[in-house]
Structures are given as C-alpha cells and as structure tokens.
C-alpha cells in the first residue's frame, strides 16, 4: 500500500498532476482498498506542490525497492515496528496491528519490536495509527527508538530478525544514539498569498508604480507587474523560511527542510521543517515559535513524534 504513495510520487516526479480519481484507479489496478480519508490525505501529500532548492536534500532511499523476486509472504514471519535499546524480553501487550502482541526480539543490547504474522498488513488510517502507537509506546518504554516505515515484514521469524539485528548492529546503534532522548516536531508556516500580494502592492513603491502603469496600459505592463510581484513574494517567503529555520535551529539538534505541501483553503505553505528536539527543551519550542510570530503568518506545529525524519 505504500504503492499508492509510490505511484503518486512517480506521477509527480514525471511532472503530472495527481488527484483522487487517479489514486482510486491505481488502487483498483493493484487490487487494494483504502478508506476515503486516506485517499484524500495521500492526494494532498503527493499533490502538485511548489518545490524549493532545499528539497534537493531529500534522501533517495525513501523510494521502496520493488523486485519481482522479493520474498513471498510466509507463515513464519515478523512484522517489524522499530528498533530499541533493550536486551531483556519484553511485551508491549496486544497493541500491534490487528490486535497482535507487540514484543521485543533482541540480539545483544538491541531489540526489534515485532508481532508475529506472515502477511504485510493492509494500509488504512487505522493501521497507520496503530503502527505509530506501537512506536510511541516503545519510545516511552525504552527511551530511544528507530522507527521503521509502515509495512516491513521479515520472513523467517524471530531467528531472521536476530540475524538482521546482528548484521546491522553498528548502523542501528549509531542511529539510536543520534536520536536518544529526543523527539520530533513538524513545523509548517503558511500565509494567504492573496492577502500578502495585496499588502505588497500597496506598500512597495516599485510595485505601486508598475500597477499604475498596468492600469493605463494592460498587456505587457501587466505581465511585468505579475513577474515583479511573484519575485517579491518569493524573496519574502525565503526570508521567513530562513528566519524560522534559524529560530528552530537554536533549539534543535537537527532541522530538516521538508517538501512544501498543499495547504488548502486558499493558504500557501512557505516553509516546512522537521525538528529533532531534546525532550527537556520541547516545552520551549512553542514559546520560541510564538516569539517570532509575524502578522499574516500562520504556524502549525505537529508532534511530539518519534524521530521518523531523523533515522534515514
């Protein structure tokens, strides 16, 4: 079911618009189902958005490798939620997907939280939320977590999980240390582009002059006005994005620029970051964001999340 996203992202990469109907067609083609809300959300995630140079930092590993000779579902398999520091046997209870028991399979000082099950789970709003809940519980209990993306099933059961932990020990350990004691927040900065354009047109002398010309002589002057206005807005958006990045950087051990999403309701997203924040500083984040608040900017903070954005 990451297939949806994969498909949508492929379309976007090819410069094509992605809409709800297309995703539905994709779902039907792949013999999958999903709830309505999920479709709308994925369409929003993968829909046409303005990209920035910063997007160049996005990892390429996010695209799942798909091979026809990929392992087939078997009965003896484990679904893996995350990796934690922990060597004792432990159960998080029946909170796994489908009510399965989520428990620790360990090798050395590392463990994976898994449930026993042979098939990759279907994605729905609910199953995504359940995956997240298990990762959240694991973070509470073990103090650090490397979340896996939804949908990883390992054939070969617990023995194979241990083999994998052993083989990846150093790499996983390093990732765990990087995020230990830290949590993630998402910060989205939006504005109303029409209101901003109106404000700039009334305030900036150069734009005012171009506007007067455009009124007298539409056509070419109108185009010049539009180009100048677009440029002013771009500069302003970049400035705000830099300011927020600086503020967030003061508190965070990591700030990652994220892809700008469609904001909906006539709003435009001008900055989007994931921040990795030491747990004890989390309370200060909202305050700092409030301090650099500006007229006409709407800031949305989501979290705290397990460090999904800082384990790639």
């Amino acid at each position: 079911m990451i297939a949806y996203l994969y498909a949508a992202l492929s379309l976007r990469a090819a410069g094509r618009p992605v809409d709800d109907a297309q995703l539905r067609a994709v779902a039907a083609a792949l013999g999958l189902s999903a709830d309505e809300e999920l479709f709308a959300a994925i369409a929003r995630l993968a829909g046409p958005v303005r990209t920035r140079a910063e997007d160049g930092e996005r990892r390429t590993a996010g695209t799942p490798v798909t091979r026809e000779e990929a392992p087939r579902p078997t009965e003896n398999a484990c679904y893996i939620y995350c990796v934690v520091p922990g060597s004792e046997s432990a159960s998080l209870g029946l909170i796994g997907l489908g009510g399965e028991e989520a428990y620790l399979v360990s090798w050395g000082d590392l463990g994976a939280i898994v449930h026993k099950g042979g098939r990759p789970p279907a994605l729905s709003h609910q199953s995504a939320a359940m995956h997240q809940r298990v990762v959240e519980e694991a973070l509470q209990r073990f103090g650090a977590v490397v979340p896996l993306a939804f949908g990883h099933v390992m054939p070969g059961g617990e023995a194979a999980v241990r083999d994998w932990l052993a083989a990846s020990h150093e790499e996983l350990k390093e990732k765990l240390e990087k995020v230990r004691g830290k949590i993630e927040f998402g910060v989205q900065v939006m504005w109303d582009p029409e209101a901003v354009a109106a404000r700039l047109l009334s305030q900036r002398q150069g734009l005012r002059r171009l506007k007067e010309e455009a009124q007298k002589n539409p056509g070419e002057a109108q185009q010049r006005l539009q180009a100048a206005l677009d440029e002013e807005m771009r500069i302003l958006a970049d400035r705000y994005a830099r300011e927020y990045r600086e503020v967030l950087g003061g508190l965070s051990t990591g700030v990652r620029p994220e892809r700008l999403r469609q904001a909906g309701d006539g709003l435009q997203m001008i900055a989007h970051f994931s921040c990795l924040v030491p747990r004890e500083d989390a309370d200060r984040l909202a305050g700092m964001i409030e301090e650099c608040r500006r007229d006409g900017l709407l800031v949305k903070v989501s979290g705290p999340w397990p460090p999904y954005s800082f384990v790639a």
Binding site: M1, I2, A3, L5, A21, R24, P120, K300, V301
Partner: protein, 68 residues
C-alpha cells in the same frame, strides 16, 4: 499560535509511510501486495491515463471516467 486546519492524518501518513527507516526489499517484504507491484508499478510510470487507454485498469472497476 493559531491552530490552522490541522490535518493529523496527513502528518501521520507523512511520517509512517514516507519516513522512518526503509530497508531493502531483498530482506523484507516491504509492501503489501508485493507480487503485483513489479509489473504494474512500472506501467504506472507511463501514467495512469496510458494504463486506462490500454486497458491495464478497467475504468468501471476504478470508478473513473475516461475519454475512450
């Protein structure tokens, strides 16, 4: 700070699907419906409209209208 149109589902999916650790499909069955993906996803790269045109998707199944 104003809570603007919170979309927790989008934030959730953004993380749970697009982020987190991705591991090699050599070791993991990473995707639901894996056996289907090889062929059909490749076809997707050619575009959904093309698939519809060549009947890779049955439009009535998909519940979408096409200009055929």
């Amino acid at each position: 700070m104003q809570g603007v149109h919170p979309s927790p589902l989008v934030d959730l999916l953004d993380r749970v699907l697009e982020k987190g650790l991705f591991l090699s499909a050599d070791v993991f069955i990473t995707l639901a419906g894996v056996p289907l993906l090889g062929i059909k996803l490749r076809a997707l790269l050619a575009g959904v409209e093309t698939m519809l045109r060549y009947g890779l998707i049955d439009p009535s199944d998909a519940g979408v209208k096409t200009e055929q």
